[in-house]
């Protein structure tokens, strides 16, 4: 039984065709995945279904009748509900008020509060209607959106990247709810680029690339790699490195100890590790175990004792970030918007901010704008950053593109040591592969690279040695060759000395 049938949907914006002749059908009670990289046209397509965008050509049929929503209200009235990627919530209002705003004919507040409690209990999504939304966690905020949708008995629930802000436990709760809904006959259109999630949840997938449908598959019977290659359109390259010999120690961290910088921070305890020229050191661990503090201590944002960090034999632990850049240590922190880049400034300005020292982009206190622009252009070209140009504001770039820019900006400064935190977080498959390759290339040219990541597959793919960060303590680094997941799990759990203990026993 088909619920929604799309035929030949086309939508062009000036200079780009977002959707071109897209046709597929969603069945009743089906969990249908919509896959694609950033910029593949997923968002435009769901906005069309939700009435935010009007297609240039093509038709939609909902339960056999033509469906042409002129605005989101019309779509909601027809039974389409949507949970947005960036929550469309109002922080200063209560849960009940937020939900009322998303409904066509909301009941009286008291009645509504009662229904919110009922639905939240039925679907295992605990939520109190009187709380102020600004005080809720990301998972709870998403519940508000979902309950808002469920109260309208939708026929089709659209979920746009719903898990990007959730903890693994919250993801499990969400999947339980979605499966229950599907079993009751609600169709779900699930948009994501997290392939493992789609394999666990969805029964059918449509893959978009550059605005076109390029394939369909049953995710339960297709490997993640095959789906990723469908999305990207080429065989996904596995990062390769030249088997060059490692050089001398470049970065030496010796007894790095620092108190927690703020209330929710983690203290670093006697971290000792060294990285050789041409080597990639991978540091794994669950978030909040000292990653941010380690990056801050290495980049110079958090000065420590001089002797704790040494670069080419020079003690640099007490230097500020710009002096460290000058000597050859560059860093790219995890948070792209607001930490690695200033969101409202242009790419040229952002490029200038970290590259000024190393590339001599200022003369006698005046900025050399033409050179800065050239440098930004070389980052954009060299790292395939998709943007209209270097005068674009950083916040206008998608996550993957901005990440490529941030990493590229540091790499093109040819640092002796590069420290990156979560280099491919929230980045689609092909961009992630490009970033990893660039890091390996940098190491191939003789730099030392420190990659801090929660993605263990990433670390195993590119790192020569692996160390685990656990409550501010770093395990001894071990070669990644021949490392098993079981061993990594033990290291992450803090049991670094287990083997030694066995030997002694």
């Amino acid at each position: 039984m088909t619920l929604l049938d799309l035929q030949g949907l086309t939508k062009a914006y000036p200079g780009v065709v977002a959707n071109s002749d897209i046709s597929f059908a969603i069945g009743k009670g089906q969990i249908h995945a919509l896959l694609g990289e950033n910029g593949a046209g997923k968002s435009t397509l769901v906005k069309t279904i939700y009435g935010l965008v009007r297609p240039d050509a093509g038709t939609m049929t909902l339960e056999g009748a033509p469906f042409t929503p002129t605005d989101p209200r019309a779509a909601r009235a027809a039974g389409i509900a949507m949970v947005f990627q960036h929550f469309s919530l109002f922080d200063a209002l209560t849960v009940a008020e937020n939900i009322a705003l998303g409904m066509e004919n909301p009941p009286k507040q008291r009645e509504l509060a009662q229904r919110i409690r009922e639905v939240s209990e039925n679907y295992g999504l605990p939520l109190s209607p009187d709380r102020i939304v600004g005080d809720l966690s990301a998972g709870e905020r998403q519940r508000v959106e979902i309950i808002r949708c469920l109260l309208q008995d939708p026929k089709l629930l659209i979920m746009d990247e719903p898990t990007s802000v959730l903890t693994p436990q919250e993801v499990e709760i969400l999947f339980g709810t979605l499966r229950l809904l599907a079993s009751e006959g609600t169709s779900i259109l699930y948009i994501s680029h997290k392939l493992e999630e789609i394999r666990a949840l969805c029964e059918h997938a449509t893959v978009l690339r550059l605005g076109k449908v390029v394939g369909t598959c049953d995710p339960r019977e297709t490997t993640s790699r095959d789906m990723a290659e469908l999305m990207v359109g080429t065989t996904l390259m596995t990062p390769k490195r030249d088997g060059e010999a490692l050089g001398d120690d470049v970065l030496v961290i010796e007894g790095l100890t620092a108190p927690a910088p703020h209330q929710f921070g983690t203290a670093l305890k006697n971290v000792c590790v060294s990285v050789k020229s041409g080597e990639v050191l991978g540091i794994g661990g669950v978030a909040g175990n000292g990653q941010d503090e380690l990056v801050a201590a290495l980049s110079g944002e958090m000065p420590v004792d001089a002797a704790m960090v040494a670069l080419d034999g020079q003690a640099i632990g007490d230097l500020d970030p710009n002096t460290r850049r000058k000597i050859g240590l560059c860093a790219a922190p995890e948070e792209r918007n607001g930490h690695a880049a200033a969101p409202d400034m242009t790419l040229t300005e952002n490029a200038l901010m970290t590259a000024k020292t190393r590339l001599g982009l200022s003369k006698n206190g005046f900025l050399d704008w033409p050179s800065a622009r050239d440098f930004a252009l070389s980052v954009i070209e060299g790292f395939d950053v998709r943007t209209p140009g270097p005068e674009t504001a950083a916040r206008a770039l998608s996550g993957g593109n901005l990440q490529k820019f941030v990493i590229g900006r540091e790499i093109l400064q040819k640092p002796r040591v590069l420290v990156v935190n979560q280099p491919t977080w929230g980045v689609d498959a092909s961009a992630a592969a490009a970033i990893r390759q660039a890091l390996l290339d940098l190491a191939g040219e003789g730099s030392a690279v420190v990659v801090i990541s929660q993605d263990l597959d990433e670390i195993l793919e590119i790192a020569d040695r692996f160390a685990a960060l656990n409550e501010g303590t770093l395990s001894p680094a071990v070669p990644t060759a021949g490392l098993t997941m079981e061993r990594i799990g033990l290291m992450l759990g803090g049991a670094h000395d287990m083997e030694a203990a066995h030997v002694e026993a």
């Binding site: 909601r76 200063a92 705003l101 909301p106």
Partner: protein, 301 residues
């Protein structure tokens, strides 16, 4: 000293009414996420238009209607500039104030009034005869009660009505409101026009009741005080009354003290209402501003 506290308190309500009217209008505008700094300009255009309309028709209430229309019309310029041409709200609001001051001077040239035109005081049966409270609260003109009624109406509208909820939502997060299918621009244009109409009424109250005559620059900064009081009231209607009456109270008190010939330089007394407002502003922790306040909204993003 010889100040009659009953008369003082009664005068307080009259002195506060223009500020209260202008402030409640601006409160609605700011709750919808727009910062209109043109209150002073809209007030003074309302003052001159209300004066002319009232005296040429011989009916002061027609004067108030005209003032509200003039204030709303002037605010519409602001609305078109900021909501459709996406100009900066601060600069446009300041421009509106300057424009209003000049325009009112131009319109008001040679305007003549008749001394007979008065807004009669109500004498509410029974209540007005209560000793002390009667003269303070229940022997004013209809605009005093209208201003309080507008505050009550705005409070109920924001708290209980769906339209009020939508208005708050637009001021809180215009992108989310747009995504849910609400017309952000339409809501804001209506809010701005309501603010303009209220400012117009406020100006006319000065030129028709409080002074009552037309002189250039008659509003004398009352619009700016109204703006400050909106912040001091944390964008909450009831607190607005407290703020407006505090300012009005100190104004009336210092006028009385001047008349008494107190041995303090007059300049200090004239400063008192502004100082009192600033002190209270500093002492009270201002609440949370609407999150989208002052930001331009473009529906395509």
């Amino acid at each position: 000293m010889d100040i009659n506290p009953i008369l003082l308190l009664a005068a307080l309500m009259v002195a506060s009414t223009p500020i209260l009217l202008a402030a409640i209008g601006e409160l609605v505008v700011e709750r919808s996420g727009v910062l209109n700094l043109g209150v002073e300009g809209m007030m003074i255009v309302g003052a001159v238009c209300g004066y002319i309309a009232g005296h040429s028709s011989g009916n002061p209430y027609l004067g108030f209607v005209g003032a509200a229309a003039a204030g709303a019309a002037l605010s519409l310029i602001f609305a078109v500039l900021t909501q459709f041409l996406l100009t900066n709200q601060v600069a446009t609001g300041l421009g509106l104030t300057m424009f209003g001051l000049g325009l009112s001077s131009l319109i008001g040239q040679g305007s003549k009034g008749s001394p007979d035109l008065t807004v009669s005081k109500l004498h509410i049966p029974l209540l007005a005869d209560i000793p002390v409270i009667g003269p303070i609260l229940f022997q004013h003109d209809v605009m005093v009660y209208l201003s309080v009624a507008i505050v009550a109406g705005v409070w109920a509208f924001l708290k209980y009505s769906r339209a009020g909820l939508i208005l708050r939502a637009v001021g809180e997060n215009h992108d989310a409101a747009h995504a849910l299918g609400y017309n952000v621009r339409a809501v804001r244009v209506l809010a701005i026009m309501f603010g303009g109409a209220c400012a117009g009424l406020a100006g006319a109250y000065i030129s028709l009741v409080r002074v009552p005559q037309w002189i250039d620059g008659i509003t004398a900064g009352a619009g700016w005080i109204a703006l400050a009081i909106v912040v001091f009231a944390s964008w909450k209607p009831w607190r607005l009354i407290a703020g407006a009456y505090l300012f009005g109270g100190v104004t009336v008190l210092q006028l009385n003290l001047q008349a008494e010939g107190l041995k303090i330089p007059v300049e200090y007394l004239s400063m008192a209402p502004y100082l009192a407002t600033i002190v209270v502003l500093v002492m009270i922790r201002a609440g949370r501003a609407p999150a989208s306040l002052g930001k331009s909204f473009h529906p395509s993003t």
